[in-house]
């Protein structure tokens, strides 16, 4: 893993702040980097800002959403492009060609009145300059690669004629079709059965090895992160609260939210008969809290957690945690 340090940067996000309708700040102070060929998992509570972060990197924030502050830089050295505030023409050269994306709700990213094959073939013609027949052949090939039965038949189907998992695979095929440097996969395998999911994850591993593809994988399935990602970012209430090498973070979580999450997780455990939850609710998007955003639900909270913003602490060995407590004081404290 240490060899990754020498790899050039594919995506660098610094101090990103995103607001949605009415100027509510939904994502704040988010910084992370993904290097060439690296796979990073992004996990966290529902509504914590994962999708908004991904969409900002693609310039596709929802209506009313905007990047208030921070930088998003794609690539390294002479090929680096600053994406915050980029013009339309810059985005045209980046989306699909350099960053591929698979979104949470596949149907809303496809045109309902065109066949799915046509939509992918068209992209290959426009972005890669393929001729009609080549584009058709390559489309069928890509559909087969993502495990669709009868890829030639699927070519002629409209989005509404496909099941959730079939649509998701069409989107994956579109996302990798132009051999991007970076794939942003927001819950890209949630509609797939585990057999196909394993095949898709293997396909992505292959692309990382052969093409140096970098991966930002948003998922709620910690087993998938454990299997497929070198590093993990944990989000809570619009901030990254913990980051580091996957095995270390999952094996020895430092932030109280990550601890709570691991405490209720059942990674592939079929014998489990208790379904625990983290009591309480997360702050609403934009809700102002003077101190730590997890404090109202945190079993380790102390006076210092409530008074002022809690900065990110560098724990060394590539790990960070946004918590006033160190691992020693966590060990001493008995969670309330």
């Amino acid at each position: 893993m240490s060899s990754l340090r020498e790899e050039p940067s594919t995506l660098e996000v610094s101090d990103l702040q995103i607001s949605v309708a009415d100027g509510l700040v939904a994502v704040q102070d988010v910084s992370f980097q993904i290097r060439r060929g690296e796979s990073v998992g992004l996990v966290g509570e529902s509504g914590s800002g994962k999708t908004l972060t991904c969409r900002a990197a693609l310039g596709l924030l929802p209506a009313g959403g905007r990047v208030d502050a921070g930088r998003i830089v794609l690539g390294d050295g002479p090929e680096a492009v600053e994406l915050t505030g980029a013009r339309r023409s810059t985005w045209d050269g980046v989306r699909a060609s350099r960053i591929g994306a698979v979104f949470q709700d596949p149907a809303s990213y496809l045109n309902p009145s065109l066949t799915v094959g046509h939509q992918l073939a068209e992209q290959l013609r426009v972005k890669r300059g393929l001729r009609r027949r080549e584009a058709h052949a390559r489309t069928v090939e890509l559909f087969a690669e993502v495990g669709l039965h009868d890829p030639a038949g699927v070519f002629h189907q409209y989005p509404h004629q496909l099941s959730g998992g079939m649509l998701q695979r069409v989107l994956i095929a579109i996302a990798i079709s132009c051999e991007p440097e970076l794939l942003i996969a927001d819950e890209a395998t949630t509609a797939l059965d585990v057999v196909i999911q394993a095949e898709i994850l293997a396909l992505l591993r292959g692309l990382r090895a052969t093409h140096g593809l970098s991966l930002l994988l948003v998922t709620h399935d910690l087993a998938v992160v454990a299997e497929s990602c070198e590093r993990i970012l944990v989000m809570y209430g619009g901030q990254i609260v913990e980051s580091g090498p996957t095995d270390q973070v999952l094996g020895d979580p430092q932030h109280p939210y990550t601890r709570a999450l691991m405490g209720v997780a059942t990674i592939g455990d079929w014998g489990r008969r208790r379904l625990d939850v983290i009591p309480g609710q997360p702050p609403a998007a934009g809700e102002r809290l003077p101190g730590c955003r997890f404090a109202p639900r945190c079993g380790y909270a102390e006076a210092a957690c409530l008074t002022g913003p809690v900065p990110v602490t560098d724990l060394g060995a590539g790990r960070t945690s946004r918590c006033v407590r160190t691992s020693a004081s966590l060990a001493e404290a008995v969670p309330a």
Binding site: V43, G44, E45, S46, G47, S48, K50, T51, P62, A63, D105, A107, S108, T115, D150, G153, V154, H156, Q157, Y158, Q161, L162, G164, G165, E187, T190, A191, L192, D193, V194, V195, I196, Q197, A198, H220, D221, A223, V224, A226, E227, A260, L261, V264, A265, T266, I267, G268, D269, W270, G271, R272, R273, R274, L275, D276, V277, I278, P279, Q281, A284
Partner: protein, 357 residues
Amino acid sequence: MSTTHLRLPEQAEAVPTPAPLLRVRGLSVSYAPPRKGTHLGTGAALRDAELEVRPGEIVGIVGETGSGKTTLARATVGLVAPAAGTIEFAGDDIGRLRGRARRAFRRSGQVQLVFQDPLRSLDPDLTVAELVREPLDIAGLLSRSERQQRVAASLDLVGLDPEAVGHRRPRELSGGQRQRVSLARAIATRPRLLFCDEPVSALDVSNRNLVLNLLDRLRVELDLAVVIIAHDLSSLAGIADRVAVFYRGRIVEQGRIRAVLEEPAHPYTALLTASAPSVAQEDRLRPDQLRPAAGTPAWPADLGCVFAHRCPVAHDACAEQPAPAVVPQAPGRLVACHDAVDWRERLDHSHPQKESA
């Protein structure tokens, strides 16, 4: 407060079994062939499905993508007409209802479906509070103020703050928040049967458990019958009583969930459980042991058993589609395989490289 101890299967079996609330028999569904005349539209999306769900029972549905799971859900709520077979709800064949009778049944809100894709199924112009209230308005249930209370209570049950999200529209929510709005909408009418198509796929573990606990509570408190379609085997294992496994339009295996997941009787179920990410089980087979050995001639397309083309032990008899049958080696199970359970022995011969545990 936050945990639930689920009934053990033995206890569940000791209770006298009530009559099924939902009884699906020999159900086949076919979508109209697409205009361009490709061969895909002609095949049935669901074939000869048999399924029973009792009040207070949770039945899981797992299986291949595109295998007809959503189609079964859509048929049960009357969104697509059966090509053959019957769908009985509380003794009435609802698959045959037409016109006014069918509308009246749907308006009653006794059967609710939580759709797989909330963004496509929720009206984008309505606010969250309006969306959750709508089925109550349609069914004409409760007074105005009671409806308002029911809306807030339903949102609260799924872990959403009615104050914070009530006035927002679906697009202004995260994926998991939308998924929970769909569920709040479905439980608002207090249905007798709840069909949930992937109700927890977009949720973090804590919220996932909250929703699963909620479903478990509803079945106990309201004697609700619940069907949950899911790809995440471990979340079903914690809550469902029985499970049905789908492959290419057919139910290939069904039975008590622990038994099915731990001792699969159909080779597809075995492939499915073996492929689940890092399940802590020592002696399980690896996915590659459950695929046809390299060099095996390809099975002719569309011949016989739906799984034959991917089955590691397909043989001559498999040229005929096996009917679901009770197998003596796995009591309480229905399996559509000529070689149910016994295929394991053949597997050992055809894959001599299997590690001895």
